[in-house]
Amino acid sequence: MAAGAAIEGQIDAAAPIPRLLTNAVERVREGLGTQTSAIGLIFLITITWTAFGIAGSGFLGSYNLYSIGQLAARDAVLGMAQAMLIVVARMNLAVGSIGAVCTSMLGYLLVSAGVPLWLAFLLVAAVGVLAALLMGAVELMTGLSSFIVTLAFLSAYAGGALLFTGGQQYQINSSLITRLGNGTLFSSAICPLVAVAVVCGVVCWLLYNRNSLGWKMLAVGANERAARASGVNVSRVVLAAYALSGLLCAVATVMNASYELNVNAGFGSDWLLPSFIAAVLGGVALTGGEISVTGILLAALFFDSLQSGLTIINVPSYWIELPEGLVLLVAVLLDRARRARRRTMRPRSLAGTPAPEPDPVAAQ
């Protein structure tokens, strides 16, 4: 045993410094780990803006920045709507169709029914929530994957919206809505919708970081079996995620309508791709259980800057859809790479302090 005691002494004496070091390194790594996507996106946005600023005339002009903000704001909210379900390891393929239903409802209520604005907003929000809740209920009752269920509702809702409106156009002429989508905030380069997106972002951040529902959503997404066995009411949490996703679709509807003004049931048909790009490029793990709200906001900004820049340097519009798809592909590959790297990191940090494991609980 003498040899054992000697080794013990040696390790104990040498331990504190590497332990402190690995502790610090791991802390930084953990902090960065959740924000790598945000940092990378700020870098990408800087490059995009610099490159297009040089290459295309007017890219950095207030008119163009205004329209980038207008679009990015909506896409960010779509990203958050998608993320609500990705976080619980599901997906919402019907974001656009819920948008179509909500748009039809908004048009009908404001134009045909002449309902007051506040009531119209409330009803549209309720319709968005209900449309999503129905999908959630079907998923839970049938046990089918959210992919199949939301795919089915994608066409059901789009068709329903068309039937309901009979293909009618609605010209919205509420001054508040017009100001929301076409006015300015602080500077002529900022659309008020940006503020809407930021407010949604703050609310989402609070949900995921300061609310037990958000925590439970993350738990269910990361490991549904474990969450269930630990007493989390999984069905309730999943339904809540669907409802919130529907609510954000309703918000995106109003945002979209506020700058288009002349709306119809065809709205939303092109929402799916930006919703996924904003979420996945923003660092929301496709496998669930991870979120970065800042990432979603930045990813939407990057995506719409890229699109706008390509238009400004006169890339034909047919060609612009090509990079859109590529961005999604790259985003998914990045997501995978991030997770693969974390997997290889883990055993290393495990063995990082092979000597004595630190004091129980003491170090916090």
């Binding site: 045993m1 040899a3 054992g4 080794i7 013990e8 390790i11 502790n23 791991e26 953990e30 300061r210 609310n211 037990s212 529902l213 925590w215 439970k216 993350l218 738990a219 990361a222 490991n223 079996r225 474990a226 969450a227 269930r228 066995a229 630990s230 007493g231 989390v232 009411n233 999984v234 259980g289 991870e290 883990r346 055993p347 290393r348 940090s349 495990l350 063995a351 990082g352 092979p354 000597a355 004595p356 494991e357 630190p358 129980p360 609980v361 170090a363 916090q364």
Partner: protein
């Protein structure tokens, strides 16, 4: 009692000398040695993460050492691949089974080396070839039997047979006994002794010291990648010495303090004629406050399934379940926790017990968020922390901080976190399902203490375990289960020998009884 190889028989077979290995700059092994002689069973022990697996992987050519020498029969060798190690007669049986469940025993045994005749596999030849190897390890089965029909212990024997077909001189067994029964262990022991007497060197990795003492002659202990004991004859060291060597400090093993039966309170959980969708029929079981009931049985007896039915992870189809004297309907673990304060520490730690990618705090806190949240569910880490740290401290969880992902902890510490969650929840009834499988001595001891303390404080505890010693040691009452029925019930805290005998009798009797009953049922049914 163990035959030491006599001086002239001390022929070195495999020697790993002064091996060092680092991964990404972090040392996993430092100057570690393991030397085997012909015809010995050599114990290799250490806590999880001490470097046993790395050492075994180096011995079998999976990893290459950074420094150090490997010798086989006195010749220096360099294993460039697992195949190279096998050519030198070094074979390994890993902890996780590598059997193809849908293949026959013969196919599994000779996988990749099937006898070929004109380009086609000759099944007849394969069956004939397989037979003697199966007999050799005591598997008296038709070689055409599907591997899925083997019990975990028999699967282990098949793995050993597989290693033997490669004509190995050195056999490395990585925790071969973690999922087998006492009887199967006795059988395995017999076979390993035969192999030893025939000249094979065997390395036996185990967390169970009783087994080590029963089987091995020498012991090598690793701690933090170094040799603490190097090939010391077991006759010269006590269990306490070994534990001290492994954990680096002295711990008084709870299991050796002797059991005391405790005064128990009123009935807390009662199952009356309960049937479940998983196949239980008319189960009667009562659990009192402050009582530990050990639920023992073989793998597949229906114990985990019963636990899952109690907490609502499976449906109860008949009979009555009462909690604290009142009939209770538990639809899911949420009901179990919220309305009845029942917690379930799952045997499946990685998939059901924990969210490995989430922090320790989130894992432990999951059961108490509901209690701590303000209106509208607002909550914060700082609000949860005071409720999360006491159970972690009580269980002596080794960690840097509570924000660390659970997946970065060692197995034993993960298991502690999985239990800590229910302590934080103040459960009144806790079901522990195989709480000490695959965890090291110190962590196991901590779990044992915890279970006993919880019961002392009035918690009703159902302890599911395949480790009869653990059950005898901890339980106030032992319930024996088999074939989804309750076979016998006896008092705990007695001598291991007689209890084990009675438990085994109950199980054997049930197995024997099962066959004529089944036959009668088949014969009887069509005529009515």
């Amino acid at each position: 009692m163990h035959q030491e190889p006599s001086a002239e028989a001390r022929v070195e077979t495999l020697a790993l000398q002064n091996i060092s290995k680092a991964f990404g700059g972090v040392a996993a092994l430092i100057d570690t040695s393991l030397e085997l002689v012909r015809g010995e069973i050599h114990a290799l022990i250490g806590e999880n993460g001490a470097g046993k697996s790395t050492l075994i992987n180096i011995a079998t050519g999976v990893y290459r050492p950074d420094r150090g020498v490997i010798r086989v029969g006195g010749q220096v060798v360099h294993f460039s691949s697992p195949g190279a190690a096998a050519e030198h007669g070094v074979a390994v049986v890993h902890q996780e089974r590598n059997l193809v469940r849908k293949f026959s025993l013969a196919e599994n045994l000779l996988l990749g080396r099937q006898p070929v005749n004109k380009g086609l596999v000759s099944y007849r030849q394969m069956v004939a070839d397989a037979k003697p190897w199966l007999e050799r390890v005591g598997l008296h089965f038709d070689p055409r039997t599907e591997a899925s029909r083997l019990s975990p212990g028999q699967a282990q024997l098949l793995e050993i047979a597989k290693a033997l077909t490669r004509r190995c001189q050195v056999l490395l067994l990585d925790e071969p006994t973690s999922s087998i029964t006492d009887a199967e262990f006795e059988h395995l022991m017999g076979i390993l002794r035969e192999l030893r007497d025939a000249g094979t060197s065997i390395v036996f990795v185990s967390h169970k010291l009783e087994e080590v003492y029963a089987l091995c002659s020498r012991v090598t202990v690793l701690r933090d990648g170094r040799n603490v004991l190097n090939g010391v004859p077991l006759a010269e060291v006590s269990q306490g010495d070994i534990v001290r060597a492994m954990v680096g400090r002295h711990i008084e093993l709870f299991a050796s303090t002797g059991a005391t039966r405790r005064e128990t309170g009123p009935a807390h959980l009662e199952l009356r004629g309960v049937s479940t969708e998983l196949g239980h029929h008319r189960i009667d079981l009562t659990l009192h406050r402050g009582e530990i009931v050990g639920l023992y049985g073989l793998v597949g007896a229906g114990r985990t399934e019963l636990a899952r039915s109690i907490v609502g992870l499976a449906k109860i189809t008949g009979g009555e379940l009462r909690v604290a004297g009142k009939p209770a309907k538990i639809r899911n673990p949420y009901d179990a926790l919220r309305h009845h304060r029942i917690g379930y520490v799952s045997e499946d730690r990685k998939d059901e017990g924990l969210i490995l990618t989430h922090s320790i705090s989130r894992n432990v806190g999951m059961t108490v968020w509901r209690r701590l949240e303000a209106k509208m569910g607002w909550i914060s880490e700082s609000r949860v922390r005071p409720h999360v740290t006491p159970p972690l401290r009580r269980l002596d969880v080794r960690m840097h901080r509570v924000s660390q992902p659970v997946g970065s902890l060692s197995g034993g510490n993960q298991q502690k976190v999985s239990a800590a969650k229910w302590i934080a929840a103040d459960a009144e009834l806790l079901i522990f399902d195989e709480p000490t499988v695959g965890i090291d001595v110190a962590a196991k001891d901590a779990m044992h203490r915890l279970i006993a303390e919880l019961a002392d404080d009035g918690t009703a505890i159902l302890l599911i375990s395949s480790d009869l010693r653990e059950v005898v040691q901890l339980a106030d009452r032992i319930v024996v289960m088999g074939e989804f029925r309750i076979l016998d019930e006896l008092a705990g805290g007695g001598e291991y020998g007689p209890i084990s005998e009675r438990v085994m009798q109950a199980i054997t009797a049930a197995t024997l009884a099962a066959s004529p009953v089944a036959r009668d049922a088949v014969a009887g049914s069509p005529t009515h």
